[in-house]
C-alpha cells in the first residue's frame, strides 16, 4: 500500500494493537465477518462494481486532495475489502493497520458516493464491513475506541457520571430560569408527551444548549421530560467503530428508557449521527424495522414549532447565514427543505450552499472521523478543502450546523482555512430571536 503522510501518524489504537495480531486471528475474524455476518449486499456489490470510477467525484476527500485516485471511494474499497476477499483474510497485521486508517479516518461513511454510483452500491456499507473487522481485531483509532469504551461502561459517549448528568440538568434549569422563571427541565416525568434526548457533549462541554432547550420547550408549551437514568444519551460511536454489540446495548437502553417514561415520541437535539444510530442502525441490529417510538430530529421539531406558531420570532437574526446540510438528517432523512424553512424563518439573510440538500458535501467530522481525535485532525482538514471553498463562496457570516459533528467539523475547517466565519446551532439563534410571551416574563 502506498505511503502517505497519514501512514506516519502515530496512534496507539493502530500501532500497538496490531502487535498482538496473529495471521490466524485475522483470518478467522475476516472469514467470520464476510461469511457469517454479511450476505447478499456484500456479494452483489462485489460482483456488480464495474470499476468505472464514477463514484470518485462524489467524495470530498478525493476532490480536496487534487483528485488523487487513492482517495476515491472505490479505491478505498479496493485497498481494504477487495484485499481481504482476494486473500481470504490472509493479510499481515500491517495491512490491517493501513486498512483501519483508511476506513476510519479517510471515509466518513456519509453515503454521498452511493448517489453517484450508477448501481447505487452502498460503498459506505462496504467500508463499515471493514470497520467491523477492524473492531473485532481491536485495531481502531484510540480516541474512537475510547469513545466506544465510554458507551460500553457508561452508556454515554463522554464518560459522564450519572450524578454529573443530573447535576448539569439542575444547573441548566436554574440558568434557564434566570431568563424565564417558569422554565424547568422535568426529570423522570412519566407520561410526558416528549422525551428529549441529547448526546453527551451537551452536558459535558455545551451545557448551555440544555438551558436553551428548556427555554424553547417552555415558550412552546411542550409537555416534556428527560431521563435521570442512563439511556439519556442518543449518540452512538460504537456504531461507527464497528462494535455493534455495544451499539445495540446503547440503543436498546435509549428506547427502553423512552418506553419506561411512557412518552409518545422522542425529540432529539441537533445531532446527525445520533439520529442515524437511534433510527436506523441501532434498531436494525436489535431487530426493529423502524424505531419503536417515533424519533423527531431537532430540525423537524423546530420546523413544527415555527410552522404551527408555537414559537414566534420577535426579530429576525441580522447576520447573513448559510447552512451545513448534515448527511444523516438531509441525505439520511430528507430534512433539507425543512431546514431551509427554519433558517429563513429565523434569519434575515440566508445564502444557500452549492451543491446542496442531498448533494451537499460531508463535514468530514461525521462517521466517527472526528472522534479519531487530534492525531487525525490534519488529515481531516486536508480531506475537506472543498468544504472550505464551498462555505467561503457563500460569503455568509455564520454557518448554521444542526449537527454536533458538523458543528465541530466546520469549526475546525473555519480555523484551519482561516475563514472568518462563526458556527452556530439553530437553537442558539432561536433562543436569541424568539418572542417570549409577557405571561412568561419575570
Amino acid at each position: 500500500m502506498r505511503e502517505t503522510p497519514e501512514s506516519l501518524v502515530v496512534d496507539p489504537g493502530l500501532d500497538e494493537t496490531i502487535k498482538k495480531l496473529t495471521p490466524e486471528k485475522i483470518q478467522t475474524v475476516v472469514e467470520h465477518v464476510l461469511t457469517k455476518e454479511n450476505a447478499a449486499r456484500l456479494k452483489v456489490y462485489s460482483d456488480t462494481c464495474v470499476h468505472c470510477g464514477l463514484c470518485a467525484e462524489a467524495c470530498q476527500t478525493y476532490i480536496s486532495r487534487d483528485k488523487d485516485p487513492y482517495y476515491s471511494p472505490v479505491a478505498k474499497v479496493k485497498n481494504t475489502l477487495w484485499e481481504l476477499v482476494k486473500n481470504k483474510g490472509r493479510v499481515p497485521p500491517e495491512s490491517i493497520r493501513d486498512m483501519s486508517r483508511i476506513v476510519f479516518t479517510e471515509c466518513a461513511v456519509c453515503r454521498r458516493c452511493s448517489m453517484y454510483c450508477p448501481f447505487g452500491i452502498d460503498i459506505a456499507y462496504l467500508l463499515l464491513v471493514v470497520r467491523r473487522i477492524c473492531s473485532l481485531l481491536g485495531v481502531v483509532p484510540a480516541y474512537l475506541q475510547d469513545t466506544t469504551n465510554s458507551h460500553a461502561a457508561t452508556m454515554n459517549q463522554m464518560w459522564v457520571q450519572q450524578d454529573e448528568w443530573i447535576d448539569t440538568l439542575q444547573w441548566q434549569e436554574e440558568e434557564a430560569q434566570a431568563e424565564i422563571p417558569s422554565c424547568r427541565i422535568p426529570l423522570e416525568k412519566e407520561g410526558a408527551e416528549v422525551m428529549y434526548s441529547v448526546i453527551a457533549p451537551e452536558p459535558k462541554i455545551l451545557a448551555q444548549l440544555l438551558g436553551n432547550i428548556s427555554q424553547i420547550m417552555t415558550v412552546a408549551g411542550i409537555d416534556w421530560t428527560m431521563p435521570a437514568t442512563d439511556g439519556w444519551d442518543n449518540s452512538n460511536m460504537a456504531m461507527y467503530s464497528g462494535d455493534f454489540e455495544v451499539m445495540g446495548r446503547v440503543e436498546r437502553l435509549h428506547w427502553e428508557t423512552a418506553a419506561r417514561l411512557k412518552v409518545k415520541k422522542v425529540v432529539m437535539g441537533e445531532c446527525g449521527h445520533a439520529f442515524r444510530g437511534a433510527v436506523y442502525d441501532g434498531p436494525r441490529w436489535l431487530g426493529w424495522k423502524f424505531p419503536p417510538i417515533p424519533m423527531v430530529h431537532a430540525i423537524e421539531f423546530y420546523y413544527d414549532l415555527l410552522k404551527s406558531g408555537r414559537i414566534k420570532v420577535r426579530e429576525k437574526y441580522k447576520k447573513s447565514v448559510t447552512v451545513q446540510d448534515p448527511c444523516n438528517t438531509v441525505r439520511g432523512r430528507g430534512l433539507g427543505n425543512k431546514l431551509r424553512y427554519v433558517v429563513n424563518e429565523l434569519c434575515e439573510s440566508f445564502i444557500d450552499v452549492d451543491p446542496r440538500l442531498e448533494h451537499n458535501y460531508c463535514c468530514m467530522a461525521g462517521g466517527g472521523t472526528i472522534n479519531c481525535g487530534p492525531p487525525w485532525k490534519r488529515s481531516r482538514m486536508v480531506s475537506n478543502r472543498v468544504k472550505a471553498e464551498q462555505i467561503e463562496a457563500t460569503g455568509a457570516d455564520v454557518v448554521i450546523t444542526p449537527c454536533h459533528n458538523c458543528h465541530s467539523g466546520i469549526e475546525d475547517i473555519v480555523g484551519f482555512y482561516k475563514l472568518k466565519k462563526h458556527v452556530k446551532f439553530i437553537s442558539e439563534i432561536m433562543v436569541e430571536v424568539m418572542e417570549i410571551p409577557d405571561s412568561l416574563k419575570a
Binding site: A40, T48, V50, H51, G53, K78, G120
Partner: protein
C-alpha cells in the same frame, strides 16, 4: 462446424445464459433473506422510482456533471442490447430457428450502432488507461471483459463487410457471441442482471426509509 455453431452451440450458450442468470438471481434473493435487513425495506414504488431516474438520460446529477460520457454510455448500452437481438441477420435466424417474427433494425442503423459499441468500448478502455481514478481500480480482467464484449461486434462487422474468409469469420462471430452470452451471469457483465436489484434496494433505502432521493 458452421452447423454446430449455428445450432447446438447457440442453444448451449442460451442455456448457460438462462440457467446461469436464474441461478444468480435466485441465490441473491436467498442471500438477501439471510441478510435480514434487505427485503423488509423493499417496496415497488421506491424501487421503480430509483430505476426510472437512473435509466432516464441525465436523470441523476452525476450524469449531468459529465454529459458527453453520459450520452456515450447510453448509446453504448442501448446498442449493445438492441443490435444482437434486432439486427437483420439475427432477425432472420430468429425466424428460421424459432419461427419468431421480429422487427429488424434498418441495416444502416444497425451498422451505426455496431460502430457505436465498438467506438465506445475503445473509449472505455482508453478511459481506463487515461483517467487516474479509473486506472487505479482497473485490473487486466476489466480490459479483457471489454474485449470479449466487443469481439462479436467486430467480427459481425467483419463478416458483414466480408473482410476475411466469410465462413471462418462467421464461425468466430458465432463463437464469440455465444461466449459473450454465456459469461454474462458469471462475470461483471452480471451487472446487467443486478442493476435493477441494487438500484431498487438503494432507491428504497433512500426513498422509503430515509425520505430522501438517490439521484
Amino acid at each position: 462446424m458452421y452447423d454446430f455453431s449455428r445450432g447446438p452451440l447457440v442453444w448451449i450458450a442460451f442455456g448457460i445464459f438462462l440457467i446461469g442468470s436464474i441461478y444468480r438471481i435466485v441465490s441473491v434473493i436467498k442471500l438477501a433473506k439471510k441478510d435480514k435487513v434487505v427485503l423488509p425495506y423493499m417496496t415497488w414504488k421506491y424501487g421503480l422510482r430509483s430505476i426510472l431516474h437512473w435509466i432516464t438520460p441525465f436523470g441523476a446529477r452525476n450524469m449531468r456533471l459529465r454529459p458527453a460520457f453520459t450520452v456515450m454510455t447510453y448509446l453504448f448500452h442501448l446498442s449493445l442490447l438492441l443490435v444482437p437481438i434486432f439486427t437483420l441477420g439475427h432477425a432472420i435466424l430468429w425466424r428460421e430457428s424459432w419461427g419468431i417474427d421480429l422487427w429488424a433494425l434498418p441495416n444502416l442503423l444497425s451498422k451505426l450502432m455496431t460502430f457505436i459499441v465498438i467506438i465506445a468500448g475503445v473509449i472505455f478502455v482508453l478511459r481506463r488507461i487515461a483517467d487516474p481514478a479509473v486506472r487505479f481500480v482497473t485490473s487486466a480482467g476489466d480490459i479483457v471483459l471489454v474485449i470479449l464484449v466487443l469481439a462479436p461486434f467486430v467480427t459481425g462487422l467483419m463478416a458483414y463487410y466480408q473482410l476475411a474468409a466469410y465462413q471462418t469469420i462467421l464461425i468466430i462471430h458465432i463463437w464469440t457471441g455465444a461466449l459473450w452470452l454465456a459469461i454474462i451471469p458469471f462475470t461483471r457483465i452480471a451487472h446487467m442482471l443486478y442493476f435493477a436489484l441494487t438500484r431498487a434496494y438503494m432507491g428504497c433505502e433512500f426513498g422509503y426509509v430515509r425520505h430522501s432521493k438517490d439521484w
